[in-house]
């Protein structure tokens, strides 16, 4: 646990120093979105990487967080922080309620059910025009502020969002190192065995599902207040697949891997213009290739590479042994 905390502290230090080392305002802006996507990817990874339960409906929770925050503040004039908390709680309750029937399903059926849920929510965003603004989007969401500190520049948004992202990562690291984390991994390997050992698998799965939905909802609220404009296309099936790809690239069950995956898939399209035309081809290929050849993701890849390099220098390896 202590090693994990040191690792986390180092990582957090790097994240907090990054803005000082870059000049371009645009890169900083993109890094804000890396932070939001990191939250989402870590949330999905808790469910997928640790408990072994797939969800193709994450974009729906993300969108619900964004729309609830947006509507409560812009239409009803609520305080953004209250709206964010209420949105997170509402998303959590919804996830908890649908979690019981949905997580009874396994594998392909779970994927289909979560996808169906995601599409229903997406249709509501599009069709409930009076409230959501429909396909043309919803604008005028106010920015966040803390006393006199208004989060209106990229630098301020960066610190706000990465603070949240780091908190989520810390929570995830803590969770996975705990008794709950071990129980989740047991469910991943064999649900029957986990239940025999006294793990309340059903409840635990729903709790993790709820937890990842709340994280997604929070990320959605932050997105809405940072961008101030939201439209349904951000929260479609395509984004759920993008999140899945981030988690798979980084490595199932690796918190830092999720951050790496989020960073790669957010930065690449910004800096490779051609990538935008090919993005779904690339996601498809990545999903297939990673699952086939490197199921542990890039993080496992680096570990293998590191071990391979050590083996290439027999003198050193021998001394260690």
């Amino acid at each position: 646990m202590r090693r994990e905390l040191i690792k986390f502290a180092l990582f957090a230090a790097v994240v907090l120093v990054i803005p000082a080392t870059i000049k371009g305002g645009y890169l900083l802006n993109v890094l804000v979105f890396v932070g939001i996507n990191t939250m989402l990817a870590v949330g999905l990874n808790l469910l997928l990487g640790f408990a072994g339960q797939i969800s193709l409906g994450q974009a729906a929770f993300y969108g619900l967080g964004a729309y609830l925050s947006g509507i409560l503040t812009a239409t009803y004039g609520w305080n953004p922080w209250t709206a964010m908390a209420v949105a997170a709680i509402a998303v959590g309750i919804l996830a908890f309620v649908i979690g019981f029937p949905i997580l009874k399903l396994k594998g392909h059926y779970l994927a289909m059910a979560t996808l169906g849920f995601g599409i229903i929510i997406y249709i509501v965003f599009n069709e409930y025009v009076d409230v959501t603004g429909g396909p043309s989007g919803f604008s005028g969401v106010p920015g966040l502020s803390l006393g006199d500190l208004h989060f209106d520049s990229d630098l301020k948004s960066y610190y706000l969002i990465w603070t949240m992202a780091l908190l989520v990562m810390l929570l995830a690291v803590n969770l996975t190192q705990s008794r709950i984390g071990r129980a989740l991994r047991a469910i991943h390997d064999s649900e029957v065995a986990a239940r025999v050992l006294g793990v309340n698998a059903r409840l635990l799965k729903v709790q993790v599902f709820t937890c990842s939905a709340i994280i997604s909802g929070l990320a959605g609220s932050l997105y809405a207040h940072t961008v101030t404009f939201i439209s349904p296309s951000t929260f479609g099936f395509h984004f759920s697949v993008e999140l899945l790809t981030m988690v798979i690239i980084g490595g199932l069950g690796s918190i830092y891997g999720s951050c790496l995956g989020a960073a790669l898939l957010t930065l690449l399209p910004e800096f490779l213009r051609t990538f935008q035309d090919y993005d779904i081809v690339v996601y498809g290929l990545l999903l297939i290739i990673m699952t086939m050849f490197l199921p542990g993701g890039l993080v496992q890849g680096f570990e293998l590479l590191w071990m391979g390099m050590r083996r290439l220098r027999p003198g050193r390896a021998g001394r260690n042994a």
Binding site: L105, Y109, L287, I288
Partner: protein
């Protein structure tokens, strides 16, 4: 137009789209029964059918029958290639890996279709014109008749194939118990490949015959695929009449929902039905057997 006329109109158009869902659903059931996989990419082969149909029939002006056959062949070949390249190497993978592989395959196929044919929506002319036929107050397009005729033919052919041919019986044996099928000399791997061939071919045909009614584009696969899956789920993943009934039921409910409630929420109706069935009766509406789906 009075209410009963309206109702018969919804019923007719619902049955036609339902027939399409039934064909797609049969594809899901065939692959599920031979491999235990829900092929997430099934909808993409439906899309490929429609797109290849447009490509051969309207772009290259092939005669109708030749264009149909070529389009089905091309889509079925893609199905086999998908099985060979992505599914077979992963036979021993954990279920989660297979889920992700088929999702990856599905968006890969969609992406390639987008690169090749662009993002535009393509129209396919009706097979025998677009002159509407009036039938007891309801309007019917000749394409609807094509859909009914081809679906009935295909379902009968499917039934005969599984009942009377040696390959069909071998496929059924694989569905019951793969290891036992292997022991009596059935080449299970070939049968799995064959089931992908059948499923993608049937899906492709569905994709072509529906294209004149709904148009087609690179991204229609996901919706059609999910609705086909919903049909198969209602039918309890049976490779027969259950799935056909499931498709027809879904088509009619969707048409009624669109007509009587709101056309914007038409697709939501399907997914609410899908979730309800998965939550309450995952073994399907028509079977009483135990299910491994939960």
């Amino acid at each position: 137009m009075d209410f009963s006329q309206q109702l018969s109109q919804y019923l007719l158009s619902g049955l036609a789209t339902g027939a399409i869902y039934a064909l797609i659903g049969l594809g899901f059931a065939i692959i599920y029964n031979s491999t235990g996989i829900i092929n997430f990419a099934q909808g993409e082969f439906v899309m490929l059918g429609g797109m290849f149909g447009v490509y051969f029939y309207t772009v290259h002006q092939f005669p109708l029958v030749a264009a149909l056959l070529l389009a089905v062949l091309c889509a079925a070949a893609s199905g086999v290639a998908f099985e060979r390249l992505a599914i077979r190497p992963m036979r021993r993978a954990p279920p989660l890996g297979l889920v992700i592989i088929t999702i990856g395959g599905s968006i890969l196929v969609r992406g390639i279709a987008m690169l090749v044919w662009g993002k535009d929506t393509h129209a396919l002319p009706g097979f025998s014109g677009d002159e509407p036929i009036i039938l007891s107050g309801a309007t019917l397009l000749p394409q609807h008749l094509w859909i009914f005729a081809l679906t009935v033919l295909l379902i009968i052919a499917n039934k005969l194939f599984f009942q009377y041919t040696i390959t069909g019986k071998a496929l059924r044996a694989c569905a019951v118990n793969q290891r036992a099928a292997g022991l009596v000399g059935i080449d299970v791997r070939r049968m799995v490949m064959f089931s992908f061939l059948l499923a993608s071919g049937m899906g492709a045909l569905a994709g072509i015959i529906v294209a004149p009614l709904t148009m087609t584009s690179y991204d229609v696969g996901i919706m059609l695929g999910l609705k086909g899956f919903c049909a198969a789920i209602i039918g309890g993943m049976s490779n027969g009449i259950g799935t056909v009934l499931g498709g027809l039921l879904l088509g009619v409910l969707e048409a009624l929902g669109a007509g009587l409630i709101s056309s914007g929420y038409k697709d939501a109706v399907t997914f609410i039905i899908l979730l309800l069935i998965l939550f309450l009766r995952p073994q399907g509406l028509f079977s009483r057997g135990e299910s491994e789906r939960v």
